[in-house]
Chain length 431, copies 2
């Protein structure tokens, strides 16, 4: 056939956010021997393929012994089309109670094909027409920005400080948007060790954010993939655990605590919905209708694998991922110490290289005295053998031009030291 | 919080197609003892949960022995984020060659979270703005209609005859749409034993459809879940196998040949795409960009399970599902004979009940002398203990008012006989 012109396809295929990520992966692929601070993958040293079959067996035993299902029902659970909302919702509700202090009815849980599908579903539901907009602090998670583009929901950026979203700026931007005839529906927020900034909201700001959501009548989409990876001290409560006005739609992931390949996430959406007929439902059930037209139901094998994983760990992902958490803590320490050794405490005498000091998570942001774009990344990889992620993409293409994100979740201490030496050589060369 | 008004959510949550399916499932759930001609599920008598772990092991051996991957790479394949386009694309390409006579480069295959995600991706790519429309013969698959609603792509209905889509009417409607300023981008078609009508395109019509697509410059989205379940005689070639002008985007499913719970499908999209920069790609790569923002990649456990299934069957799903195919053939015979016994050959002396005679597949359509809607379904279930699917939903809510779909894929011969007795009693009561 005639060639299809890319300009005749949906805008998201030519969107800089989406195309840049493809480009970054392509660059990374050409330098397999470079030390990569680019990959946000979980640590993989403790994975064992034997675990998978055992997880399936554990879940099967659970169906047989705890839930008293017969062979026919068990077979159906594993092989057939299933409940749109999924079948490990009870285990997820137990995990939320144990690890997050969130008490929720299992019927408010929708199991999804990774947290990514959950974001798409929530935005698809909330974006009725071109007036509906969503807010997020910038820099923001590229998966969130991409999901918004896919659904065609405009994103309004909010200022981010060292401790996450600036609540006053959020309120200001909601009001400005309303004055322009727009309908701000929700604000996306990662309260703990955000990707990419590493920022964490203070307890006080969590309360102020919830108050602002009530006062301005918007929802909060809380995304929580990293909270168990805190460097020291007790974890802060999730927004959902503090929520008294049912403002929080909670997005959950097992990518960093169990394994990313499963593509298993969920959303808790217990907000009441009233219909023209007078009947009422919960937001979760409206999301399930959309899911039934997007992926029908979440893969049964993936659900059974994560179900077995939860059962073997008493439904505590904090317990299950304790070894990985120790790796991330140690690596964050190595990166922060390594930066200080090479560029001086607080950025060195000339203050040209600075970085933030996250309380946990998998990411640190470094500000450098040169433009950190894909051209520089290619130069860094080919000349110095070190990969990182330009921060620009997390601003939706506008901002963070002299910043790069370092991820250290899959690296050894030696790799971190070598990588930072190479980064220092790049800075020396370009600075 | 205040209740959310359903009218402030995306239209698809209040769409009659989506809400009706929920309602039908709800009615079915209240009559567990009724004979159900409603469920379109695959036959489940040959499933065994032990197969799943064995499939995973078979796939692991394939990685180790055929592809020579080391333990670290194997672990990464099973547990990590993976290639957006999936890792069983080579096996799928081999299956297409063996079972369908389709020769394709494995790089043109995108593995998806079931065929449903593939439909969403293709429509998302093709729907750039409100002028883009898609065509399908009506009645059409409800999953396709739902995916179109989710993406917000208007559907133009085309007349369907006893042998599927009316190609002349398709051409007429494309031209009418163009004259109205719309951009018809593609036509969705299930050439073999369509759901719900059971209709099969003749060989001549397959060629005419391909010619019409070239002449009118549209794509064909070929969906092929049922072609191996032919009653007698050789299978007809797929559109993709006949395609000389690269008009066909092929949608594949393993739901009926392996198992539906995996949520594993794929799309073959080898059409060239040209970009403003002068570079070129294939449509499959543009779809992959969208997938990276929808589900990232298809579940690794689901891919490994289907990969193992393919390997154990020499990549032939026809061979693998031979036992199920025999069940469907026998059941179609029982249903057609049973209808003739109860309502007379060709619809009985008064001609009030008629039905079509598909050449295979899982569905038959019966025309009855009363309104076959959800009120009647509730009456049928509660008074006569028999469930079926109103055809109305497959027309997008408009048409098929006196028709019902019978599905017989999970029933025994006894259940079919009992169910048809009950259907005859309903006809007697309402006729």
């Amino acid at each position: 056939m005639e060639r299809i012109d890319a300009s005749e396809l949906h805008d998201s295929v030519t969107d800089p956010v989406l195309t840049s990520m493809t480009l970054l992966n392509e660059i990374a692929g050409r330098y397999p021997d470079a030390v990569s601070f680019a990959a946000g993958r979980p640590y993989e040293g403790y994975y064992d393929t034997h675990d998978l079959s055992r997880y399936l067996g554990t879940f099967e035993n659970h169906l047989r012994e705890d839930l008293r299902l017969g062979t026919e029902e068990i077979t159906r659970t594993f092989f057939q089309y299933g409940r749109t909302k999924g079948f490990i919702h009870e285990l997820i509700a137990r995990h939320l109670e144990i690890d997050e202090g969130i008490t929720t009815d299992a019927e408010s849980v929708l199991v999804t094909t990774g947290c990514q599908e959950a974001m798409v579903l929530v935005m698809r539901a909330l974006c009725k027409d071109s007036r509906d907009v969503i807010l997020t602090s910038l820099p923001s998670y590229v998966g969130f920005l991409g999901a918004a583009r896919l659904v065609g929901m405009p994103v309004i950026g909010v200022r981010e400080g060292t401790t996450g979203i600036d609540v006053e700026d959020l309120v200001r931007r909601i009001r400005t948007a309303r004055a322009q005839g727009l309908r701000p529906r929700a604000c996306y927020v990662v309260p703990d060790f955000a990707n990419p900034s590493g920022a964490t909201l203070t307890s006080a700001d969590r309360k102020r954010l919830l108050e602002a959501a009530s006062q301005e009548d918007i929802l909060l989409l809380e995304d929580n993939p990293y909270s168990m990876f805190r460097l020291t001290g007790p974890r802060l409560p999730t927004l959902k655990a503090l929520d008294r006005d049912n403002r929080v739609v909670y997005l959950g992931s097992f990518a960093k605590t169990a394994f990313a390949g499963a593509r298993l996430g969920y959303v808790v959406a217990d907000q009441p919905v009233v219909h023209g007929t007078g009947s009422s439902s919960r937001l979760v059930d409206e999301l399930a209708k959309l899911k039934s037209m997007l992926t029908l139901n979440t893969s049964t094998v993936a659900q059974a694998a994560i179900g077995g994983f939860l059962l073997e760990n008493g439904c505590s992902t904090e317990k299950a991922s304790a070894r990985e958490a120790a790796v991330y803590r140690a690596n964050l320490g190595h990166v922060l110490n390594g930066l200080a050794e090479r560029f001086g405490e607080g950025g060195g005498p000339d203050g040209r290289v600075t970085w933030n000091t996250p309380d946990g998570g998998m990411f640190t942001v470094v500000t450098v005295p040169f433009r950190a774009d894909e051209v520089m990344l290619e130069y860094s990889a080919s000349r110095f053998g070190v990969l990182w992620t330009p921060m620009r993409y997390f601003y939706g293409g506008d901002g963070g031009l002299q910043q790069l994100r370092l991820s250290y979740s899959v690296l050894s201490r030696d790799q971190i030291e070598t990588g930072l030496d190479r980064l220092a050589a790049l800075v020396e060369d370009r600075g």
